[in-house]
């Protein structure tokens, strides 16, 4: 099973991951479970339990134009200078590394990170971020869900 986890606080651009997850939850890709995780912190480790693969969708702050979609392998994340902004309590990277040390991380996964325009709290995400989340990230998540599902089936066949 592939778990898609949207991460973020519900306000302003930080909501990008939640916006994408909500859209995906309305029509989940086959073989996936979609979770809107708010700011899970160390609870992310529990959310990874039992998943063959995972797609994390979060907000990022790297200085790229707002709405830019970063798409990277889950296990490239700790080596990547990308700063995920919703890394409250235990950060996403730290939670992932901890899950790996404890043998609780899935074999594979992707991180889709949406570049924010502002870190200020606001009632809504700005239009560029909202569009990237609800369209580009959703499309990309559907693509990866299919790819990861194929890989998971293959590894079972081995």
């Amino acid at each position: 099973m592939i778990r898609i986890i949207g991460i973020g606080s519900p306000f302003g651009d930080d909501a990008a991951g939640l916006i994408a997850a909500r859209r995906l939850a309305a029509a989940p890709p086959p073989g996936t479970e979609v979770i809107e995780a708010d700011r899970p912190g160390a609870t992310l480790i529990e959310l990874l339990d039992g998943a063959d693969a995972v797609i994390l969708i979060d907000a990022a702050h790297t200085g790229a134009p707002p709405g830019t979609l970063h798409d990277l392998d889950l296990y490239d994340l700790p080596r990547n200078p990308i700063a995920l902004v919703s890394s409250h309590d235990l950060g996403v990277v730290e939670a992932l590394r901890l899950a790996t040390v404890l043998g609780r991380a899935p074999a594979r996964g992707r991180v889709l990170a949406i570049e924010v325009g502002s870190l200020e709290k606001a009632p809504q995400a700005c239009s560029a971020v909202a569009r990237a989340a609800s369209e580009y990230a959703v499309r990309r998540a559907r693509y990866w869900a299919e790819e990861l599902r194929a890989l998971t089936v293959e590894s079972y066949a081995d």
Partner: protein, 434 residues
């Protein structure tokens, strides 16, 4: 390195990843004396106070819960109690007990996280939880188990563990079935052993021995260890009703921070959180936890902030035992919530968030529409005390390396468990020697 000449030393530290908060500490030293110290944190609740205006009272518990991903129960509880007081809502005793259970879940979740993931690495010479997990895997797994049981309580009563939505004015939107509580009860029995083991583990840590002149403030209930109810008391003589909070405490703006600083009127900073609760309510812990506390060798009241990690572990045991007691005595209430009729006025409530008293005040019109809201989180109340603590620590930092000075500051700040949303990504430490 400090030099004998008049030099300026600036230390930039992108650390404090384990205290959530856009924190910055600026320290200026002249002839070995601290002449200026400013600790800055970002504080988002002001945004929520504005957001709440014009909303209906019934929406407030859910909106307030969104302030913090770690202590949403506290935000829901203070909001619900404030409106219940204002609207004269009578709470069924079973609902009252369930709310206490809800809070036990949050204390467990938050304390287990803080002890194992955030604070323990400081005392065991590990740079992070990942290093600690490599060294002490069973302890870290135990911490995650404890946290998970806390989350399960929150998920049962709140509908989900992250950003729960179950509490409302008058009670809950749904109450658990006895079978659901029975499943939880089994997990709590194991959690109890884990929590006791956790106390023994942290009691063996080599904690700094630094005693400060502190005014501790916490709620105090006539018979219970405080969570949702009680008078406000302090170690220097305050004893007031929750409604009198503003008569005893004041918030004031400081130029260097967008968070308000709080102090006891006519005095100074005060200290909130587990250590304050235990110092002021040791006689409410019950015999089991009191005996465990004595066995740690610390005598309470303790004025050493570093003992906070042990107190969190003791409160973990308390919360697990209290949760089992509540489940054992549970009889479902006749209705999940009591109805309420809005009225115009002001409602106030304080409850004990994992990191200390959380005060909320709402003014409504006769339809229950919120005209003004005030939210005073524990982290902002602790901020002046954190500065006082750092000021005491500062002279000893100058002989230290940059890395060591930062570690000492982080450890001291972490004793207060500054709240996630009330704090974020790193501390920037500037030390300037003049």
């Amino acid at each position: 390195m400090p030099s004998s000449k008049a030099t300026s030393r600036t230390i930039h530290v992108s650390a404090l990843t384990r205290v959530e908060g856009e924190g910055a500490l600026h320290l200026a030293v002249e002839a070995g004396k601290v002449v200026d110290l400013r600790f800055e944190i970002f504080e988002p609740p002001r945004f929520f106070e504005a957001l709440l205006r014009g909303r209906h009272a019934a929406e407030a518990p859910d909106i307030a819960a969104r302030i913090c991903g770690i202590c949403p129960v506290a935000y829901q509880m203070s909001a619900a109690h404030a409106f219940e007081r204002l609207f004269h809502v009578q709470i069924d005793p079973a609902v009252r007990a369930l709310r206490r259970l809800f809070y036990c879940g949050e204390w467990m979740e938050s304390h287990a996280l803080h002890i194992h993931m955030l604070a323990a690495p400081d005392f065991l010479g590990c740079e992070s939880i990942v290093t600690l997990a490599e060294k002490e895997r069973p302890a870290v797994e135990r911490g995650l188990r404890l946290k998970q049981v806390g989350n399960a309580i929150i998920a049962l009563l709140g509908g989900r563990s992250v950003h729960p939505v179950g509490a409302c004015i008058g009670g809950f939107t749904r109450v658990p079935r006895p079978a659901e509580l029975a499943a939880l009860r089994e997990r709590l029995a194991r959690a109890h052993d884990d929590a006791v083991a956790c106390v023994r583990w942290v009691a063996g840590f080599d904690l700094p021995d630094r005693h400060l002149d502190i005014e501790f403030v916490a709620l105090r209930h006539p018979s219970e260890y405080p969570m949702n109810e009680g008078r406000v008391v302090s170690s220097k003589g305050i004893d007031c009703a929750q409604e009198e909070f503003d008569d005893c405490f004041e918030e004031h703006q400081v130029p260097h921070s967008n968070a308000l600083h709080a102090k006891v009127k006519g005095r100074g900073p005060y200290f909130l959180g587990p250590l304050a609760r235990m110092n002021l309510n040791f006689d409410r812990l019950g015999p089991e936890v009191a005996a465990l506390a004595r066995a740690t060798g610390i005598s309470f009241p303790s004025a050493n902030p570093y003992t906070s990690i042990i107190v969190r572990a003791l409160e973990l045991v308390y919360a697990v035992a209290e949760a089992m007691r509540i489940i054992d005595a549970y009889e479902p209430p006749p209705a999940p919530s009591a109805p309420f009729r809005p009225r115009a006025g002001i409602g106030r409530a304080i409850t004990e968030a994992p990191r200390g008293m959380l005060y909320q005040m709402y003014e409504t019109d006769e339809r229950g529409i919120i005209r003004s809201a005030r939210i005073v989180p524990p982290t902002s109340q602790n901020q002046a005390q954190m500065e006082a603590d750092l000021r005491d620590l500062a002279p000893g930092l100058l002989r230290r390396s940059q890395a060591e000075a930062t570690r000492l500051c982080e450890t001291a700040i972490r004793n207060y468990d500054p709240c996630i949303s009330c704090a974020t990504h790193f501390l920037k430490l500037d030390i300037v020697e003049r």
